[in-house]
């Protein structure tokens, strides 16, 4: 028991890999055996994360990093396997472990090379979770990159028509971004001689001899800062480096899209919170306004672009850019307030940061839900062109109701998760970046436009008779996938404090 509880993060982190190894032994013909094995391999980390959730709240290290483990990994360059969680990573860990089994359940239509598909999915889960728990810069990068490869193959092998283009674009964009990140990480390692984040948090911001080509330290740090920002901005994604996202999301298989939108985008935002803000407080403050402007651009252009789409899945994809904009806006406020002693500003920053983290969670729920619902209709109709639907509510009442519910969660209807988080971001950002926030509100309005447009084109109006008798309503198995997302979204909407408490504890300790 001691051994178990001392290494709980390692168990969570590597259980999916272990599951993938077990999958190798299951005969490829037994489809059911494969699915059940993979599901169990992803449910165990979920159960452990729930346990971790409660254990964290009574842990003596909270609100700092609890459940730390440190093992020698690569002593030649002073990198160690160092993991630990705080309130923010634990929320994202819960999101990852929750969405993975759901995405596996949503992949029932995958039959070709099922074993490989499931194994890649489990590797992907480990990669994503690793980013959230890493406390070593190099290990962070290791997991950051590891997640790329399974996703590339998921899109490339099981994706839609333009999968080759989409997968290559996805990997080249992300790797291009990672390149700067890698170089900056190497430089930090070369200058400080350590990759341990807890040490770097204390030493790196104050370091004064980071010389490079005789440039002043400040410039060198600003370059490193931008290298980090670009990598995370591509992943998050922030306008104007978002263009890989609509292609990748649209071409990915349903389960892949759920994970892409639900978790992978959060890696970028998490990078800002975990690395950029604490490692570069001065630079963050200096460029916070720019970040806020880009966030507003993402919100507005994301909404406009979504409103202009003809393809249902592309519409949902663009909506992710819109929603992630709010996360970035909240982070920009935190960046601006870093090191400030003004209590009013601190208060705003705390609210905005809380909102940003909660928005990551609620967007994870709603985006995964929306992509799943698009997948459900696509599996039957084999089209995603909005114009070809119409009046489907008449023949699919249950599906229609669920779609309306998820759309409202995504739109930010009070009483559902999205409202709480977006309200908090806007409330926190308003006193700091008043004009930018006001403009972003315009984007929020257009969020309503595209969501209602999609609902109208799919569900309302006269029934397109070509579907009559061809479409079945959502099945019980499919409801099982969407129900947890709906329940959680509702739960956060009416009683957010169960999750806010854990986030807030950590955020409070920063300012």
């Amino acid at each position: 028991m001691e051994f178990f509880s001392n290494h709980i993060l390692t168990w969570i982190l590597f259980f999916p890999v272990f599951g993938a190894a077990i999958l190798c032994l299951v005969p490829a013909r037994s489809e059911k055996g494969l699915r059940v094995t993979a599901l169990i391999a992803s449910l165990v980390p979920f159960a452990l994360t729930v346990y971790l959730w409660f254990a964290y709240q009574v842990s003596p290290q909270a609100p700092g990093f609890a459940f730390q483990e440190q093992l020698e990994w690569f002593p030649a360059i002073h990198s160690s396997y160092h993991v630990g969680v705080d309130g923010i990573s634990i929320v994202l860990l819960l999101l990852t472990t929750l969405l993975t089994p759901l995405a596996l359940l949503a992949s029932r239509s995958i039959h070709v090379h099922l074993k490989t598909f499931l194994m890649l999915f489990l590797f992907l889960e480990t990669g994503m979770m690793g980013v959230f728990v890493s406390l070593d810069l190099l290990i962070f990068f290791v997991f950051w990159e590891i997640g790329l490869i399974p996703m590339y193959f998921l899109i490339n092998q099981w994706g839609g028509e333009k999968r080759n283009y989409a997968s290559l674009k996805f990997i080249l964009f992300t790797m291009g971004g990672s390149l700067g990140l890698l170089l900056a990480i190497q430089m930090i390692g070369a200058v400080t001689g350590t990759f341990d984040l807890l040490t770097l948090f204390k030493t790196w911001p104050g370091i004064s001899q980071a010389s490079l080509f005789g440039l002043p330290t400040q410039t060198v740090k600003a370059i490193a800062f931008w290298a980090f920002v670009i990598a995370f901005a591509i992943k998050a994604p922030i306008w104007p480096v978002h263009t890989w996202l609509p292609d990748a999301h649209t071409e990915a298989p349903t389960g892949g899209s759920m994970i892409l939108a639900g978790v992978l985008l959060k890696l970028g935002a998490y990078g800002f919170i975990r690395l950029v803000l604490p490692l570069f407080p001065a630079e963050s403050r200096q460029y916070a306004v720019w970040l806020a402007v880009l966030a507003a651009a993402s919100i507005i252009f994301g909404a406009f672009a979504a409103a202009g789409q003809k393809d249902f899945k592309r519409l949902v994809a663009y909506s992710s850019i819109n929603h992630m904009g709010f996360v970035i806006l909240g982070i920009a406020v935190a960046a601006w307030a870093g090191g400030s002693t003004d209590p009013a500003l601190q208060q705003s920053a705390i609210i905005a940061t809380n909102g940003a983290v909660l928005q990551m969670f609620t967007h994870g729920l709603s985006a995964a839900g929306m992509f799943f619902l698009v997948g459900v209709i696509y599996d039957q109709a084999h089209t995603r062109v909005l114009e070809r639907f119409g009046g489907l509510y008449a023949i699919l009442p249950v599906y229609g109701s669920i779609l309306i519910f998820m759309s409202m969660a995504s739109l930010g209807l009070p009483g559902l998760g999205g409202f709480v988080s977006e309200f908090m971001v806007v409330r926190g950002a308003w006193p700091v970046f008043t004009a930018i926030t006001a403009v972003s509100m315009l984007g929020l309005f257009f969020t309503g436009v595209y969501v209602l447009k999609a609902l109208k084109l799919v569900l309302q109006g006269p029934l397109n008779t070509e579907w009559k008798g061809h479409l079945k309503d959502i099945s019980a198995g499919e409801i099982a996938v969407i129900a947890p997302l709906m329940i959680l979204s509702f739960l956060i909407g009416v009683w957010p404090s169960w999750i806010m408490q854990i986030i807030n504890q950590t955020v409070m300790s920063w300012f």
Partner: protein, 490 residues
Amino acid sequence: MQIPTLSLLIFTPVVAGVLLLLYPAQKRTLIRVTALVSALITLALSVFLFFRYDTIAAGYQFMEKLDWLPSLGISYFVGIDGIGAAMELMAGLVVLSGVLVSWNVEDRPREFFAFLLFLAASVFGVFASLDLFQLFFFFELAVFPKYLMIVIWGYPKTREYGAMKLTLYLFLGSMVALAGSLAIYFASGMHTFNMLELENAGFSMEVQRLWFPFIFIGFGVLGGLFPFHSWAPDGHVAAPTAISMLLAGVEMKVGAFAALRVGLMLLPDGMRTWAPLIIVLATINVVYGAFIAMIQTDFKYVIGFSSVSHMGLVFIGFATLTPEGLTGAGLQMFSHGVMTALFFSIVGMVYDRAHTRNIKELGGLARFMPMAMVGFVVGGLVSMGMPGFSGFVAEIPIYIGAWKSYPLAAILSAISIVVTAAYILLVVRRVFFGEVPTTLSAGVKDVTLADKVVIVMLSLVMILIGIFPSLLVPVIQAGVKHILFLVGGA
């Protein structure tokens, strides 16, 4: 009595090779089994050496010495440091893989396996040489099996050209290196080829500066150093599969290793003087090699140029003269050796079945040979420096070393990471996925059991080192410690 492990390692393949030539040619099974057994013995010996190498004591171990020509100060003197131990292990793995993928050689298998084993003996010998003359002896010993194997069993269209080009380049390079070595032999005034004594010869600055480029670049030709790399792609492509694996996997490391052992370790001040030039050449290697690899239409040339690109990182690591850079260079020599052997073995498997290496005429092969696809993807991930694989573990210290001494080299050569990712992914997609071209619509046979053993063995080594670098790093570091001592602090 101490067992002469290193001598056994070097002479087992020689004895087996001679034995093979005495067999009647029609006894194919006996020939193959003999070759396999001797390759297994050498692998076992190299594994033994690797794990028994004492990383705490470091220095040269398993030493054996016999006077050979005392009047000239020449002796048979073997021993390995940490880098040597890692190289012997890598060579052991590649030699066994080479024997396995050649299992079904139809044309004169007796001579084929005999020459293969002679080549193996020569590389085991170089990595263990502590006598300069003996190092040259083993270095040159490789020429005749390499040349003959390319000319006899190579790709019919280019084998004469490839073999001739390779031999002339390498011959010229080693002559230049020999001139440099003789010069320092006489300059030392010690009348010995014993490298342990030469290490302490205290060569004057002028001698070091003058003769370093002869030795380092002369040996560097075999390591594929720009602009003397062009033998490599042509030679690799012309060679039969097992020889491509040994050439790119082990022989290029022999070049880099000799440049390290004789150039850097005997003339450290020369290295310090010439480091900027080496950095420039090596950075060109890295970036230029990657771009050229991207535009190749021949599957095998892609891998050939990727070797040129990756070897550049080894030379960058040397030239940084930092503990990280040198450790990384050692790791990269190991990792690249295993990786490129895997690549060439798979290229060979594809070519044997599809009878073409033109990327445009290939496609959808994952359907017929899934294991080959998996192996190629693993190799590709190592090649693009993906974390979790040995390539990352090797490249990170090289880059950190470069950041400390030549940051611009780190930034410029990092371009190659994205380019490498692009060409590897494109090749994977075009060769293994997508539509099966009509010429191959009848399907091709899956890889053989021996091929699978090779793929699994080499892939596992790279993944294990990627996840647990501490399996390999301490041994390399033990070697680096001594180099840093010679270089003087740093």
